[in-house]
Symmetry: C2
Subunit: 356 residues, 2 copies
């Protein structure tokens, strides 16, 4: 019974560390989100989290936060770092120096530079290490980081909004707006949580989107696939609200490339594969630019390419209660009412009635 109570207490402190860690969302990438709690005699005496890329790590923040950490327990959602291959000093020596007695780590750091070495150093110094409390939650929190450091490819989310007749636009090209205000706001949140947001040139030519987070948080890097470099210099995504990457072929207009580069745009030259830009190469080049996650927002062709090559981690589909049919404008669509969503074995069943 005593053991059970202890386990609950460990999980409780680890949960606090994870909740703290999550505060760094959108600001620490491509670093992981990390939170840290320091506990003495069952009381929290210090807490901290990694606030911003390049800033102090969670462990250092937590140690600074308490008067005398010596002899206390530390809870941290990720194995402390031990390498010098980064902006700040490693945490392990600081933890040892502070006299921490026991450390609870939700998960090992899958970064090849750490991956158990932090724990080894801590153990060698006599600190008792426990790994695995709330491991699933910790892995979920840092899923994009895990993908990025283990594969050197960004975590890719494909997002598309469809009408109830599964169209992404009217036959005229009009697509504003298929999804509801709430969904669009959610997408702005998804953008600020992503390092990059990616569209095809057709979307730029049709919709001229700004691809910002519309005030929901930091703006992502905007990435456009533009094989033939058709992007107009007046395109909104070339504005100064965030960085922009134009991925194009080696053979497209070199003069225009120089003009874009002078505007501060990053040009990525990619080989072609079946007449399309090589997406695998694109992803590894983006990883090289510290982009650990991208949100692919279409259009249809781009999404299809990522899907057919299985170059994605997550698929997000909005199904919106409209029947576009042959309407010229989205606003002239028929409405779908009385939507219900039912679990059907492993499938999801959606049902709705046309509003005539």
């Amino acid at each position: 019974m005593k053991k059970l109570l202890n386990e609950n207490a460990h999980n409780m402190f680890m949960r606090k560390a994870i909740i703290l860690a999550a505060k760094g969302k959108g600001n620490v990438s491509p670093n992981p989100m990390v939170g840290c709690i320091i506990v003495k005699k069952n009381k929290i005496i210090g807490a901290g989290y990694h606030k911003i890329f390049g800033g102090p790590h969670a462990e250092i923040e937590a140690l600074k936060d308490c008067a005398s950490p010596s002899g206390s327990d530390m809870y941290v959602n990720l194995e402390p770092c031990c390498h010098y291959n980064k902006k700040t000093v490693p945490c392990v020596p600081e933890i040892i120096k502070a006299g921490i007695k026991r450390i609870f780590v939700a998960m090992k750091d899958p970064n090849p530079n750490v991956n158990g070495r932090g724990l080894s150093q801590l153990r060698r110094s006599g600190i008792r290490c426990y790994v695995g409390h709330l491991r699933n939650e910790a892995e979920k929190l840092n899923e994009t980081y895990i993908k990025y450091v283990t594969t050197n490819v960004p975590f890719v989310t494909l997002k598309t909004a469809y009408s109830f007749d599964l169209k992404t636009h009217a036959y005229t090209g009009d697509s504003r707006w298929i999804s509801s205000v709430d969904s669009r706001e959610y997408v702005h949140k998804m953008r600020t949580d992503s390092d990059g947001v990616l569209v095809g040139i057709k979307t730029v030519l049709c919709d001229d989107p700004a691809l910002t987070s519309h005030g929901a948080g930091k703006n992502p890097v905007r990435i456009v696939l533009d094989t033939h470099l058709r992007i107009p210099l007046s395109a909104k995504i070339l504005d100064d609200k965030s960085k922009t990457v134009v991925a194009t072929s080696f053979i497209s207009d070199h003069k225009k490339k120089r003009v874009l580069e002078n505007m501060g745009i990053i040009i990525l030259e990619l080989p072609l594969k079946n007449k399309k830009l090589d997406l695998k190469r694109l992803l590894s080049k983006l990883a090289g630019l510290n982009i650990s996650s991208i949100l692919v927002e279409g259009g249809e062709e781009v999404t299809k390419s990522f899907m057919e090559e299985k170059l994605f981690d997550r698929r997000v589909i909005f199904i919106c209660p409209l029947i576009i049919g042959r309407a010229k404008k989205i606003k002239d669509s028929a409405a779908i009412k009385q939507i219900s969503v039912i679990d059907s074995g492993r499938d999801i069943m959606l049902q709705g009635d046309i509003d005539v």
Copy 2:
């Protein structure tokens, strides 16, 4: 307070009538489902429902079920009939004869042959009539009947199963099975609840489906759209498990039409509209065959036509956790795991991760 209790009691008896009515599902069409409860001094003394098309109506069944209905209350989910334009004698005279004192009717019968006339006759005979207890539930129960008698067009449900990359088949044509066993069983139930089930000739040529309810209940009439009369005489839907309707153009092979008719198949000749069979004409011809509801099961082109002409009442979409991509066979698809479904304003958001 007394009034409130009474209202609750009326709703309770009406709910029992509706539950009884629903027992007729799949067997009474194109008649409505009707249930009837007879109550004296707050006790149910008789109950009945319309069991089968051509059989006695609910009111008659309920009156037969009680010894002395005189002076009692009747609860019925649809206005009793008063016309002779059908298989059985009208109910209104029988209700009057039985000495019912009050009648509670959930909704007027929208059938132009009734539509308030039953209630008028009852009122004229001195029976107190109350309309509207659980009207919404009653309308929901008989939604296909309401559509059919008010428009003379069947209630049309479009059903499609999609993978998570929104494909209905692999590029090879393989489509078995995108949806789960549970979903397929649910579709068998949908079939038995429909008077007819409709597919395009391509589906017959590709999949040769039987389109039966696979034992879930009565088999629906099978309907195939076959402009050029390409159906093989060995097609499963031409078997004797249920009636089959082949809708074709006036100009397709007359000799083959005769052969099919000799096999017991109903041939519907339809004009063309934009090189396709005129679906509006089809629906009114099907209504003429007493088909009050149809389930359209594809393929893609057929569903698209119904959708673009807005000739449907309900859209049912199964989203299945597979990414077909370029797989030749459905069974070689990638899996999608950790599906979540989230309400996003008026939209539905589906999210899933690729299982690598």
